[in-house]
Structure formats: structure tokens, C-alpha cells
């Protein structure tokens, strides 16, 4: 029977091939990540890798699970015949699960061979360049990584298949149609899940809209993104039906055969996996990639405001002989020190060096006053904290902060003002005081006249200086959170979800083979058949992508608002426009190309 079943599975290769491709791709992701984690496991800080890996693994798990389910669901006709001639539900379920496990094992084996040979050599330089892993890391084949790849890929695929197989064999052999398309319980469950996700998402959005902490807003916003993914995945079917009904009432319905078929297929062969993939990718791109970009955008706009029409001179002072007092304009000398607030309870905690700016010059106090709500900045030395730091750390005017450099002594200063300023120059500004041993030698001077600048300094206008800041450096001297990894944060989910969407499209089109053959026989041209399929797929991908883009943009604007308020700007999400359009368009293009290719490849048969 095993050989017979293998023959049978081979006959279903049009459905299984995309599933195998996705399994292989997922196993490659798991293999690459597992190898990196095992190799870098002893290196200590692998925070960025964990972040990237978590996102990639979640996306991969969703991909594998969804496509495994999809692949099983499309085989209901064969399953029905097998059950009629006497295969028990349990046995069919076990065979489907075994088949899935076998496919996953094969994919894992190929991935284990390909990952160290192809994927990692290409990936490691990129990760080194992004600062995710240290240079010179020797990434080679590891047993633990192989086991993780095989176990991870197989378990996820088997879980996905087991759930789908249970649905497939539920009920009588001849009862009903394809799983997931009929039955009250199948309509009820997504509805309940969508309702719960909507309630949770609305509650999260409400909190995000009210919070003043940029970190809280980002994290809760991310949870709201996950709720949105669930809502779109579960509720898209209802949206499509509702839109179709509305169009039928108020609009002119297309009479063409492809349009009619596309509408019917949308109803009966709804590729929900494609919708979920598009929603995940669009929302992750907009949110995870968008938040660092938006905060960078806001920070640059604020810098242009606070620098105004001054000139910006940058120079390096040798031997640490930095003096900020006495010069014209505003002098900001970069430094590093250990910062301890009087509010800190844990005196024994190990503290890292923070970036600070020693501020001086003839216009320093008036410049700082312009950054704060206070009418006057008290005379004498003091510390100006940013509102971002004040919200996060609880520092207020009057608190005392100790700045020190190991081996060079300490300085204890009061907080004299809270400034609406990004952390471009450092986590805090030290006004009218020196911190021994802190200065790095890099000095930035803001002056009204070009002539006031030292001869060896590099002078630029405010616009040029802001434009010349590397990504993330406007947000913080240490680089904006996640900004360096943004290309990976954005790229990994998109790549994974694109694979999912393409594979799901291929599977769902393969499931329409019978219809396509009939259409071929009754005289529908290949172009018309392709048109019918791509119309249905296009509505789903482009529609759900654009809805996700609109919802994601709104959520992003809300999440960025606390940061923008803290640096004294209105949130601007002008950058969203190209990303919001590009991601759904990219998905639409890939899915339509896949749909067209698979449709065209369906040959006439009996």
C-alpha cells in the first residue's frame, strides 16, 4: 500500500511541488538561523540575531503551517475517492501526515546540504556588514543545527498537515465539499477569532494613542499589528463577499466569462494563505521597517528646526584638548561617560557608557532655552535631559545625575532642563561643565556666520549636515534602534512571505485544474483562463495588501506620535507612501505571475 500511496502522491505532484519548495525554503531559513545561533551561542550578545531570527522563524512557521494545510485541503477529491473505496479516515490522516513528514525530511536534508554551501556564504557578509555578527566568524556545519532544522521543519509541517487532515476526513466520505469552505463551525471559528483579535487590537490601539512612552507605543503597536494580521486573515473572506455584494448592488457587474469565474473562484477557492502572507509582509514592512524610518524622519525634521539657518562645523580635536567655553555660537563636544541618576535604586548595577555632549559657547544657553518649555535656563553648570530620556528614566528638573569616566573621576550635576530634542548629540547635554576624560575629540559647532568657523573644520549648511547624517544617527548618537538592521528586518519577512504567497498561489491554482481543463474543453482561450485566475488572485493580493497598508500606516502614525511629541514635532509619515504601495504591488506582481504561469501550464486532459 505504501508504494501505491507514493504513486498516488506522485500523481498529485502539481499540488505537492509548491509545498516542497516552501518546505525547502523554510528549512533553509531554519538551517541558516540555527547554524548562526549555534556558532554565535557562546559569543554573548546575539540580540540582533535573536530579533531577526525570531521574526524569520515566526514567518517561516506561518509559511510552512499554512502551505501544508493548503496542500492537504486541495486534495479533497482524491481523499473522497479513497474513502469511498474503503480507506479509513484514520489511515488517510496518517498517510497524509507521513507524506508531509517525508517531504519535510527531504526538504531538511537538501537544506542542510545547501545552507552551509550556498546560503550562509552569501548571508554572512551581509550580517557582518549590518553589525549583526562579528567579522571573522567561522560559520560551518553543526550537528545541533542539523537536528534543529530537521526537527523544526518536520514538526511544523506535520502540525499543519495534521490539522488539515483532520478537517479533510471529518464527517462522512461523500458529505460536503472541500474543507474550510462549508459548514457553520468553519465559518464560526474564524469569526470568533477575528472578533477577539478586533477587540484586543482596539484596546491596544487605544493604549498606544494615549501613552507618552515611545518604547511602550512601539511594543504595544507591534502587538496591535499581530492582531491586525489575525483580523485580516480571518475576516478577509467576509470583506470580499461584502464588497462583491455591494458592487453587485450599486456597480455595473462585468459580464465577461473571466470576470464571472474570478468572482466564483473568490467565493469557493479563496486563497486565504495568500491574503495572510500579504497582510503579514505589508504590516511588518510598514511597522518594523517603518518605525525606525519614521523616527529618523521626525528626528531630522526637528534637527533642521533646532539648527535653523546656522552653519554646522565639524572637526576633530587631537589629544583630547577639547574646550567648549568661550567660542562663538554653540559648541557641542562629543563624549562618553557612565551616567548614574539619583533615582537609580540599584547601586551595584553594571552600567554601560552613554553618549553625552558637553555644551558651551556664547549662544549655548539661549540655544538650549529654545529647546525647552522653560523661559530661562538657570545659570551655572547643569544637565539638560531629553524628554525621551525623562519619560523613560523618570528624570525631572532638580534631580541629580553623576557622570564619570572610569579612572578619571566623577561629576555630580543637577538636571536644569528637559529638552525636546532627539538623541543626535547624545543621551544628555552637559551645560557649562567638564567631565574629565569623557571627550572623544569630535566637536560640532553651530555658528551664524561662516567666518566664525575654525579653519580646519568641515562646514556645511544645516540642510546639508542633516542630509549627511547616516541612517539612524539623527535619532541617536549610538544609532537608532533597529535602524541598522532595517533592511534585514524588512527584507526577511518580505522574502519569506513572498515565497509563501507564490507557493500558496501555485497550490490554489493547481487545485483548479479540473475547472481549467473543463474551460479549455468548452473553448475558453488560454488568455481568458489566465485572466480569470489572475483576476481572483489579484483582488485578494492587491486588495488585502492595500487594506493592510492603510491600517498599518494609521497604526504606525499612532505609534510614532509619542516619539514625535517627545522631540517636539508632529509625526510625519510621508515616507510611508512609496513603501505602502510598493509592497502590495510587489506581492501582486509575484502572485499574478505565479498564477499566470501555473494556469498556462495546466494542459488539457480527460
Amino acid at each position: 500500500m505504501t508504494v501505491t500511496y507514493l504513486r498516488l502522491a506522485w500523481g498529485e505532484r502539481a499540488v505537492l511541488a509548491p509545498v516542497f519548495v516552501v518546505l525547502l525554503f523554510g528549512a533553509l531559513v531554519v538551517a541558516a538561523l540555527a547554524t548562526l545561533v549555534v556558532v554565535l551561542g557562546d559569543a554573548g550578545d546575539i540580540g540582533s540575531l535573536v530579533t531577526l531570527g525570531s521574526i524569520a522563524l515566526v514567518c517561516t512557521a506561518v509559511v510552512l503551517h499554512a502551505v501544508s494545510r493548503h496542500g492537504v485541503g486541495e486534495r479533497w477529491a482524491t481523499a473522497r475517492r479513497l474513502r469511498i473505496v474503503g480507506m479509513s479516515a484514520r489511515r488517510l490522516r496518517m498517510l497524509l501526515v507521513a507524506e508531509s513528514a517525508l517531504l519535510a525530511l527531504l526538504a531538511s536534508a537538501v537544506a542542510v546540504l545547501l545552507a552551509p554551501a550556498v546560503v550562509l556564504p552569501a548571508l554572512v557578509p551581509l550580517l557582518v556588514g549590518q553589525g549583526v555578527i562579528p567579522p571573522g566568524t567561522d560559520v560551518t556545519w553543526r550537528v545541533a543545527a542539523v537536528l534543529a532544522t530537521v526537527a523544526g521543519s518536520t514538526v511544523v509541517a506535520v502540525l499543519g498537515t495534521a490539522g488539515a487532515a483532520r478537517l479533510l476526513v471529518r464527517g462522512d466520505p461523500v458529505a460536503g465539499g472541500p474543507p474550510g469552505r462549508t459548514g457553520r463551525s468553519r465559518r464560526l471559528l474564524p469569526g470568533v477569532v477575528a472578533l477577539l483579535a478586533t477587540v484586543a487590537g482596539a484596546a491596544l490601539v487605544r493604549v498606544v494613542a494615549r501613552t507618552e512612552s515611545d518604547e511602550t507605543a512601539f511594543l504595544l503597536g507591534f502587538l496591535a499589528v499581530l492582531c491586525l494580521v489575525v483580523v485580516l486573515g480571518c475576516g478577509w473572506d467576509a470583506v470580499v463577499r461584502g464588497a462583491g455584494a455591494l458592487r453587485g448592488r450599486v456597480g455595473r457587474r462585468s459580464r465577461s466569462a473571466p470576470a464571472l469565474l474570478a468572482a466564483r473562484w473568490l467565493r469557493w477557492r479563496h486563497p486565504s494563505t495568500v491574503v495572510v502572507a500579504t497582510s503579514i509582509a505589508t504590516l511588518l514592512v510598514l511597522y518594523l521597517g517603518g518605525y525606525p524610518a519614521a523616527s529618523d524622519d521626525v528626528a531630522r525634521a526637528r534637527l533642521l528646526e533646532v539648527v535653523g539657518d546656522r552653519w554646522v562645523a565639524s572637526s576633530m580635536v587631537a589629544d583630547g584638548a577639547v574646550t567648549v567655553a568661550g567660542a562663538r555660537g554653540v559648541t557641542l563636544a562629543e563624549g562618553q561617560a557612565v551616567v548614574t541618576s539619583s533615582n537609580d535604586d540599584d547601586a551595584d548595577a553594571v552600567r554601560a557608557m552613554s553618549w553625552i555632549a558637553l555644551v558651551g559657547g556664547g549662544e549655548a544657553r539661549s540655544w538650549v532655552r529654545g529647546l525647552t518649555d522653560a523661559r530661562e535656563v538657570p545659570p551655572g553648570p547643569g544637565i539638560v535631559v531629553s524628554r525621551l530620556g525623562a519619560v523613560a528614566g523618570g528624570a525631572t528638573v532638580g534631580d541629580e545625575i553623576t557622570l564619570g569616566v572610569p579612572g578619571s573621576g566623577q561629576v555630580r550635576l543637577p538636571v536644569v532642563a528637559v529638552a525636546d530634542l532627539p538623541l543626535t548629540f547624545g543621551d544628555l547635554l552637559v551645560l557649562g561643565a567638564d567631565v574629565p576624560g569623557a571627550a572623544t575629540g569630535r566637536v560640532t559647532t553651530l555658528v551664524d556666520r561662516h567666518a566664525d568657523v575654525a579653519p580646519d573644520a568641515e562646514v556645511r549648511t544645516a540642510t546639508e549636515w542633516v542630509a549627511g547624517l547616516p541612517p539612524g544617527k539623527a535619532v541617536a548618537r549610538s544609532g537608532g534602534g533597529g535602524t541598522g538592521e532595517t533592511p534585514l528586518l524588512v527584507g526577511a519577512p518580505v522574502l519569506l512571505c513572498l515565497t509563501l504567497a507564490a507557493a500558496a498561489t501555485a497550490v490554489t491554482v493547481a487545485g483548479r485544474r479540473a475547472d481549467l481543463r473543463v474551460l479549455d474543453r468548452i473553448g475558453m482561450t488560454r488568455a481568458q483562463r489566465v485572466s480569470a485566475v489572475v483576476r481572483g488572485v489579484g483582488v485578494d493580493v492587491l486588495g488585502s495588501g492595500l487594506v493592510a497598508a492603510v491600517l498599518g500606516s494609521g497604526l504606525l502614525a499612532l505609534a510614532v506620535r509619542p516619539y514625535a511629541a517627545a522631540v517636539g514635532r508632529d509625526p510625519g509619515i510621508a515616507w510611508v507612501r512609496p513603501a505602502a504601495v510598493l509592497v502590495p504591488l510587489l506581492f501582486t506582481a509575484v502572485c499574478l505571475a505565479t498564477a499566470a504561469a501555473v494556469t498556462a501550464s495546466v494542459r488539457r486532459g480527460r
Partner: protein, 260 residues
């Protein structure tokens, strides 16, 4: 439902086999409902004995296929019992019912119920493989040859004509020595000549020997070639005709239509 028309035989209260005989398949007080709607089938009683051929006729949607599915254990009945050789298959667990379909029931449906990925020989021996019996190539070849499929054993069923595919389905049932053969519109998609060939095979003495054949059909000529015709309407057996001519079957159908 009963009728006072002289050309119809009213169904017996319990249309079982003649007194003294042991029915192979007995359906008693069977009813099938979907959701909260009323029953789409039954309640009714039916008995089928070995060696008999029974046709179910009626309008589309009258319940012929559902009756067949209930009798074959493909659909669980909402009420009543379906007994095969004395065992109530409605009470059997799913895997036992599956095994029963495999070993005792054969299926010849309009959509052929064949697996196109397998060859003719593999389709014929599929039930044996399902119950983990070793394949019997000699028996497969013998049955295939008797049904005119001898040269097609290694061809994919996807490459066969409709009549050939139905013969493969019959061969599968015969090769498995099933006791009841269920045929749902087995000639629905066939031309008259192929239809006659398939029905001749299906109702041939060799196929009917020790087997019961239950056919759901629209074709009065096919129905007239069976021993007994049951007219179904609204999910119930309305009339029973024994060894009828095609004209009588047609008249019975028209009478039911008039009585609606």
C-alpha cells in the same frame, strides 16, 4: 405514500425479500436529515438479497443517491438501522465501516471513483491493498480480461474512455469479491452502445452471482433490466415494480409526478 392507480404496485410496508430468504442488506426505519431541516430521506424500510438487482428511480433530488450512500455506509443515517449480514453498519466505528466498504461493497459511480494517478491494474487491486492483502495479479488479469480490459492493465485510467473507466470500476468490485455493488448513475455519461455494454456487464450472471446490485438511475431501460424497481420521491419509496417493462417504469414515474 400509496397509490390507487392500477398500473402501480404500492410498496409493501416492509419490502423485504420473499419470506424465508435471508436479506443481505436490510434498512429499517432509516431516516437522514441535514441540520434542523426535516428529513431529506425516509423513513423507509428496504431489504436486498444476494443475487438480486434493484433499481432506484426518481426525479433528480428525489433522494436516490442519498439512499444509496446510506445503504453503503457512506453517509451515516440519522435514525434507524442499516444491517449488512445482520450487523448494523450505522453503529460501527468509522474504520470498521471503511473496512466493510473495502471488502464487501463495490462502487460504480458516475464520476467513476477511480484514482487517475494509478494504472488500471492498481485501481482494480486497490481494495486488497487497503486491507493489506497481497495483490493477486492472476485474479486481476482474469477479471480484467473478462471485462475486456486485458490490454489496458498498465494504462492510466485517465487515458480511458468513459465506458472503459466504468468497466474498471466494475472490475475492481468483482475482483474484490464484494457482496453488494452500488452503482450511482453508472451509465449517466455514456452513449447508448457503451451503456448497454456496461449494464450487460454489471447485471451479468457472473457479477450478480452471490452479489446484490443496487443501481440508482434515471434510465428506464436500465431500470427495466433489473429484478425490482423502487420509485423514490421526496426521500421515500413510493412504489415497487417487480420485473417491469420500461413502459411500466415510465408510467410509475409519471404517476408519482401526477400525485405530487
Amino acid at each position: 405514500m400509496t397509490t390507487d392507480r392500477p398500473d402501480l404496485v404500492a410498496p409493501r410496508a416492509d419490502p423485504t425479500a420473499p419470506p424465508g430468504s435471508t436479506a443481505l442488506l436490510e434498512l429499517h426505519d432509516v431516516e437522514r436529515s441535514y441540520g434542523r431541516r426535516g428529513p431529506v430521506l425516509g423513513p423507509f424500510d428496504l431489504a436486498v438479497e444476494a443475487g438480486s438487482a434493484t433499481a432506484l428511480v426518481g426525479r433528480s433530488g428525489s433522494g436516490k443517491s442519498t439512499l444509496l450512500d446510506c445503504a453503503a455506509g457512506l453517509v451515516t443515517v440519522t435514525r434507524g438501522s442499516v444491517r449488512f449480514q445482520g450487523r448494523d453498519i450505522a453503529r460501527l466505528p468509522e474504520h470498521r465501516r471503511a473496512a466493510l466498504r473495502c471488502e464487501q461493497f463495490g462502487f460504480v459511480f458516475q464520476d467513476y471513483t477511480l484514482i487517475d494517478a494509478l494504472s488500471v491494474a492498481e485501481n482494480i487491486e486497490l481494495p486488497r491493498r487497503l486491507v493489506r492483502r497481497p495483490p493477486d495479479p492472476r485474479r486481476v488479469a482474469e477479471v480484467a480480461h473478462s471485462l475486456g480490459l486485458g490490454d489496458l492493465l498498465h494504462r492510466s485510467t485517465a487515458d480511458l474512455s468513459g465506458g472503459q473507466r466504468q468497466r474498471v470500476a466494475i472490475a475492481r468490485a468483482v475482483a474484490s469479491d464484494v457482496r453488494v455493488l452500488f452503482a450511482d448513475e453508472p451509465t449517466g455519461a455514456l452513449d447508448p452502445i457503451t451503456r448497454d455494454e456496461v449494464i450487460s456487464v454489471l447485471l451479468s450472471p457472473s457479477v450478480r452471482a452471490s452479489r446484490a446490485v443496487l443501481i440508482a438511475t434515471h434510465d428506464v431501460d436500465v431500470a427495466a433490466r433489473t429484478d425490482r424497481v423502487l420509485v423514490i420521491d421526496g426521500g421515500r419509496i413510493c412504489a415497487e415494480l417487480l420485473h417491469p417493462a420500461p413502459e411500466r417504469v415510465l408510467a410509475a414515474l409519471r404517476a408519482v409526478e401526477v400525485d405530487r
